[in-house]
Amino acid sequence: MGVGSPDGADALTIAGRPMRSRLIVGTGGFPSLQVLADALAASGSELATVALRRIDPAAEGSLTDVLQQAGVSLLPNTAGCHTARDAVLTARLAREAFDTDWIKLEVIGDQDTLLPDAAELLLAAEELVADGFVVLPYTTDDPVLARRLEDIGCAAVMPLGSPIGSGMGIRNPYNIALVREAVAIPVVLDAGVGTASDAALAMELGCDGVMSASAIARAQDPVAMATAMRLAVQSGRLAVGAGRIPRRTYASPSTPDEGLAEFG
């Protein structure tokens, strides 16, 4: 099957690991564990981020158990880290706690916008890659930085559409498309997704996947929004494979006007 086939043949492969779903879900902010479990099931996602700082991995009956039961792999993140040193330390703690060398690397440079600190991000990524981590960095929508992260050995890049939790969608679609062109590794749009059309647009711009956290968790009906995101990611992916028509300034009739019946 070709691009966008929803039957799983069109897998997203990161660091050699194929995933049927191209949607990554964040686990923070859900109203209850039950809603989280139901939303995960509805999303079809196989990978979900967890902030090490927010949970005790050893606590039973909690988040990690829900993920395990849902068959969703856990992707620890370094949320709340402001320096490379902090992030590297947190990543190592996460590796120990969750028994995975995958890490979603976040190094935040500003408390109001939660934008990434590019310089610290590169430092941390370099050190973690050298240490054997599969690094998925949360980055600005900067194609040059994305290429640097690829050069360092990151497994994917996760550029932002707009600030975390803002729900502002993709503010610079042009840059996201440039990031896609700049690197050969998977591009997963992270941050800013507010509703399903944002996710579909990300896929249409050529992203390989979409990460959605607040948009699902804080929706009025998170389970319905998780379904919407799953379908939107599939739709966007299918549309890319289908090959859209070029944009035109003037109309072009979909029905030829030859052979119209003539009425008295």
Partner: protein, 403 residues
């Protein structure tokens, strides 16, 4: 009628857990003529009851998911019961539980918060609950201590508060005066099940002796899943959700705030004596009771942004408690599949609010009343069995792994 001493006859009801839920259940069961003994591992009210802020706030606390599950009815119903509950306690125990009927303000301080508050207002209006929209000037007229940069406020006029420490004390006095036998510092106890495994015989005390009872009520809060003596299949999916709060005191006495105030990341609840509770964190950290610098900082920062005047307050205490969380945030109240075993736990953020209702419902279960329709919302078996959907069934696994 049973007496306070150990009688030959088994006690009708043993309540395990001396927090606000256990005490309220014991009191109400005793009022219905049952002989009741309450057993507490440590001290009465030393768990989450002592840490709770005591908000009776069904309207300001309602969440989207609660509306879908219809569990708002539990909170509204219990909030309605509180004034007479408090009056009854005042009369019987001679203790004022500090019920403050001054409403609750929900405050937005910037455009982002205001948009979220508008969404919350629309949601509450769709539920037809009592909430009104206040202009900044109206909000500050009501609570002059609010920061000047208020953008928008919602008033939940019927959301009140009590002082849980006083409520626990009142209930303890009421229990004793009405003839409930109260055993404190009992250590770890276990449920005793008969040889066939068909019904509860009572409770096995820490010294190994059996305290016989017709029915056993489990009101152990966050520890309810750890109760020994039960088959794995009967365990309930209750987990601890850590909360940190601060206790502040205004040396100038009461009056800075009239009612509770909620803003982004914080609430402030005034007591009658010039004390204030600032809360609360929500942390999934297992049975961890450590106070942390980060949470104290965040609570104080948010609280001071909301009500600058608290800077002058004395910081009396940092308290940490464990809310009994359930997968859907609703409590477990009612008979179990094991005859004689009754659950009254899993009240999550709402133990104080839901105590009058829980006591009434549980007393009804204990005396064989026809089922109250509200009990269906709290069915302890909802996470078990063939009726549970896939998501719910996972909880069986979760609690199974907890042994």
């Amino acid at each position: 009628m049973a007496t306070e001493s150990h009688s030959e006859r088994p006690t009708d009801v043993l309540v395990v857990g001396g927090g606000i839920i256990g005490l309220a259940v014991a009191w109400r069961a005793r009022q219905r003529g049952l002989s009741v003994c309450l057993i507490e591992r440590h001290a009465i009210g030393a768990g989450a009851s002592r840490v709770a802020a005591g908000m009776l706030a069904p309207v300001s606390e309602v969440e989207f998911d609660q509306a879908r599950r219809k569990t708002l009815a539990l909170a509204l119903s219990s909030a309605d019961m509180w004034p007479s509950f408090a009056a009854e306690l005042a009369e019987l125990a001679g203790v004022d539980v500090g019920l403050r009927r001054a409403g609750t303000l929900m405050v937005a301080r910037d455009a982002d918060e205001a948009r979220e508050l508008e969404r919350q207002l629309a949601f509450r209006q769709s539920l037809d609950v009592a909430v009104s929209r206040l202009l900044p000037s109206q909000a500050r007229e009501r609570e002059p201590a609010l920061a000047p940069n208020v953008r928008l406020a919602l008033l939940a006029d019927g959301d009140h508060s009590v002082d849980p420490v006083l409520a626990v004390h009142a209930l303890l006095v009421a229990c004793r005066r009405s003839g409930v036998e109260v055993v404190e510092h009992a250590g770890d106890v276990a449920v005793a099940v008969d040889a066939e495994g068909g019904r509860v015989e009572g409770v096995r005390l820490a010294d190994g002796s059996l305290r016989a009872a017709g029915q056993v009520v489990v009101a152990m809060g966050a520890w309810s899943a750890l109760l020994d003596g039960l088959p794995e299949s009967l365990r309930v999916p209750v987990r601890p959700v850590k909360g940190q709060i601060l206790r502040l005191r205004d040396p100038a006495g009461p009056g800075l705030l009239n009612g509770a105030v909620r803003g982004a990341g914080v609430y402030i609840v005034p007591r009658n004596d010039g004390r204030y509770v600032v809360g609360a964190s929500m942390e999934e950290r297992g049975f961890d009771l450590a106070a942390t610098a980060g949470v104290v900082h965040e609570l104080l920062r948010h609280a001071r942004d909301l009500v600058p005047g608290i800077s002058e307050f004395q910081l009396e205490e940092v308290c940490v408690g464990l809310r009994p969380g359930t997968p859907d945030n609703a409590p477990l109240i009612g008979a179990s599949e094991l005859q004689g075993l009754v659950w009254a736990c899993g009240h999550y953020r709402n133990g104080i609010l839901l105590s009058p209702l829980t006591a009434a419902l549980t007393a009804g279960v204990l005396t064989g009343d026809p089922g109250d329709p509200l009990l269906a919302l709290c069915d302890p078996a909802r996470f078990h069995g063939p009726d549970a959907d896939a998501g719910l069934a996972l909880e069986r696994q979760l609690t199974g792994s907890r042994g």
